[in-house]
Amino acid sequence: MKANKPQLIIEGKRVDGRTPSDLRPIKMEVGVLRNADGSAIVEIGNTKVLAAVYGPREVVPRHEEQVDRAIIRCRYRMLSFSTMGERKSPAPSRREIELSKVIREALEPAIVSSQFPRTAIDIFVEVLNAEGGTRTAGITAASLALADAGIPMLDLVAAVAVGKVDGVIVLDLNEVEDMYGEADMPVAAMPSIGKITMIQLNGVLTPEEFKKALKLALDGINRIYNLQKEALKKKYVEIEE
């Protein structure tokens, strides 16, 4: 597949016409589901992710409960119709199980779980349409849903991927760039506390490139973070007329 790699950067523009430091268009909405305690839908370009949060509630297999904190359970799932081409099998794949863990661990540092000992907080992340960056969109959506559910958090978590495509460091990779690029690095952070909660690197970056990429990622995260705050506030301001 790598053999017939298309040219990804033409005259400084990427395949979808963005510059290297542009994000895809983002849309966010909070409180979209009625039955969930908190929910959010996030669209980043053509990637669309729905997150729902339930709890804190009783831990159902009793032996899993922790006496000093709430346990956090996360399930990331791609719907059968979310990908192009072949229908995705609805059975949880190796990748989905791994991403569930990655998303959970990216959110855990933000949640003040010691306030609800012996309970469980369940996070469901469903990918409705996948076109690159589903784990970062999932983290962004899940943290909004957690805030909507009223679960105490030290900060909202925002995430974005950076990567190297045709030798250029670019922000917010789409599917083609992810597939044919040289490196892909998703980053999640809590901007106002200034802490990174997740960083993964797939591919090769030199130390200089890594520093540049991380700076670009944190800049993108800040922009997404502001959109998250806007989306949360909007729910309450609308009623105020």
Binding site: E58, V112, P152, M153
Partner: protein, 246 residues
């Protein structure tokens, strides 16, 4: 008397830095604030912030959403979820099921060998109770040994967001007494987000439910009591219960 109050919405991650001339209070102090260091706090849930400027600056933080956490002395309205040999497990809309002992309910020692516990309360029954004991390491313990507590046999139950119960009661009970006066209903408010209504007729009951839902939706806005009063009067006029009065 009350000076200018500034109201804003605070989100998780917002920081509040205190100095000597500031104090912080409100329902959110224990739950919606996380102390980062000596005088910096982080807001942890979507909350309402009122800043009152007198000679001392007062900041009040009220969470807008969140589960009910039992507190000793709270009056709650629960629904029987399960029955054991000598106690009931009661759903009080908190992350923990509460326990009500049969001996407490009956007021004398209970012997499961000779007596059937389901005779007194069965699954689905509604009780008004007080939280007697709770420390997060065990399930909250309820008691009905006080005035106005016990099994509910009539009325209708309305559920709203527990964090908005404060608004249903209002400052110095202003909202609740206005509601009682306007709708002629009897309100029993459980701090866990359940309100029991006993109304003279169905129309008034319906209006009371609409008013409660409106309070829940607009809890973070100012001048709510007046607006709700107007709303109830309008609804009554619409239904022909009263003639229009300006």
């Amino acid at each position: 008397m009350s000076s200018s109050v500034q109201r804003t919405i605070r989100l998780p991650g917002d920081q509040i830095v205190l100095d000597k001339n500031m104090s912080i209070e409100g329902a959110g102090v224990g739950t919606s604030l996380y102390r980062l260091n000596e005088n910096t706090y982080v807001v942890t849930t979507v909350s309402l912030q009122d800043v009152e400027e007198n000679e001392k600056k007062k900041i009040r933080i009220i969470p807008l959403k969140g589960r009910y956490m039992p507190k000793e002395g709270d009056i709650v309205i629960g629904i029987v979820y399960d029955v054991t040999l000598s106690s009931w497990l009661i759903d009080i809309k908190s992350p923990y099921l509460a326990v009500l002992n049969a001996s407490d309910y009956i007021g004398k020692p209970f012997n499961p060998a000779t007596d059937n516990i389901r005779k007194y309360l069965d699954i689905g029954d509604v009780v008004i109770a007080k939280v007697a004991q709770f420390d997060r390491t065990r399930q909250p313990l309820l008691t009905v040994q006080d005035k106005g507590l016990g099994k509910v046999i009539s009325g209708s139950l309305v559920e709203i967001e527990p964090s908005k119960i404060g608004r249903v009661i209002g400052k110095k009970r202003s909202m609740i007494s206005m509601l009682m006066e306007q709708t002629k209903c009897d309100f029993v408010v459980g701090v866990n987000g359940r309100v029991l209504l006993r109304c003279p007729d169905a129309e008034l009951e319906y209006i009371a439910i609409l008013a409660l839902k409106k309070i829940e939706a607009e809890a973070h806005t100012a001048g709510l009591t007046e607006r709700i009063k107007e709303f109830i009067i309008n609804e009554k006029v619409k239904r022909g219960l009263i003639k229009y009065e300006s």
